[in-house]
Amino acid sequence: MATVKLYNVKESKLVDYEVISENGEIIATHKDSFIKFPGGLTAKQFKKLVDEHNKVNADQVPISEKELKEQEDIEAKNLALLKSLE
């Protein structure tokens, strides 16, 4: 199985993605995440896109699962409040 190291924002690190060709595209998968690349690339073009991906995504700071849950709870309360005002 072909693999490539890609930056995973959720895990905040470079991880191995398995790479397949499907529906005319290159799809790199890792656990429940995937990154698509256009089909028909040369090795040099593919490496350039991988390098670009790893460069532009490395500075993202993911919100924790706890913070996301808190956001969702607040949103649910807001919607409930609005519904009560209708």
């Binding site: 698509k36 256009p38 993202q60």
Partner: protein
């Protein structure tokens, strides 16, 4: 006085120099990724088949009114989660390309995961338009953000039906 803000979206074949969309829709209130390149069509009428991609979207901010300065722009996915088989790609750019369902190589930022807005992508501004060739960190008269390009990509494992709502934030400072 304060700036007046609204989201706009470009659609259609790339045209002009610098390139922009043939159609510009003002006062856009949603971004629904779908299998058609427009604002108006309901997403339910043009769903994305699992394994395919949405048409690429070119949303941007428009600032009117009187203000001293609008700047320090950041763009990110800041709330909500996308399910299995879904990836949201993005690029903040001045380059408009005719929307396509092909995976857009230029959309290299993976914004599938919600992040802190402070670590979002830098957004520049122009008085010319989102396509303005020399965008700056701030503007002092009416103008636009760069394009906030996005594309929802899917695999066959994507669940049928609507995706959950997520929040994409364009943050800017005004004084």
């Amino acid at each position: 006085m304060a700036a007046t803000f609204e989201f706009n979206e470009d659609n259609g074949t790339q045209t002009g120099s610098p390139l922009k969309g043939t159609t510009r829709t003002t006062a856009v209130t949603q971004v629904n990724w779908k299998n058609i390149d427009d604002v108006a069509t309901a997403y339910t009428a043009s769903p994305i088949t699992a394994g395919a991609n949405s048409f690429s979207k070119y949303t941007f901010g428009k600032f009117t009114g009187t203000f001293n300065s609008v700047g320090s722009g950041l763009f990110a996915h800041t709330a909500g989660t996308l399910g299995t088989g879904l990836t949201l790609k993005s690029a903040v750019t001045t380059t408009y390309a005719t929307p396509t369902t092909t995976a857009v190589a230029a959309f290299s930022t993976d914004i599938t995961t919600a992040i802190a807005i402070t670590s979002g992508a830098t957004v520049l501004f122009s008085t010319v338009g989102p396509e303005g060739a020399s965008p700056t960190t701030s503007i002092a008269t009416a103008g636009y953000s760069q394009y906030l390009g996005t594309q929802l990509q899917t695999t066959g494992s994507a669940a049928a039906g609507d995706i959950g709502s997520i929040t994409l934030t364009l943050r800017y400072n005004e004084n």
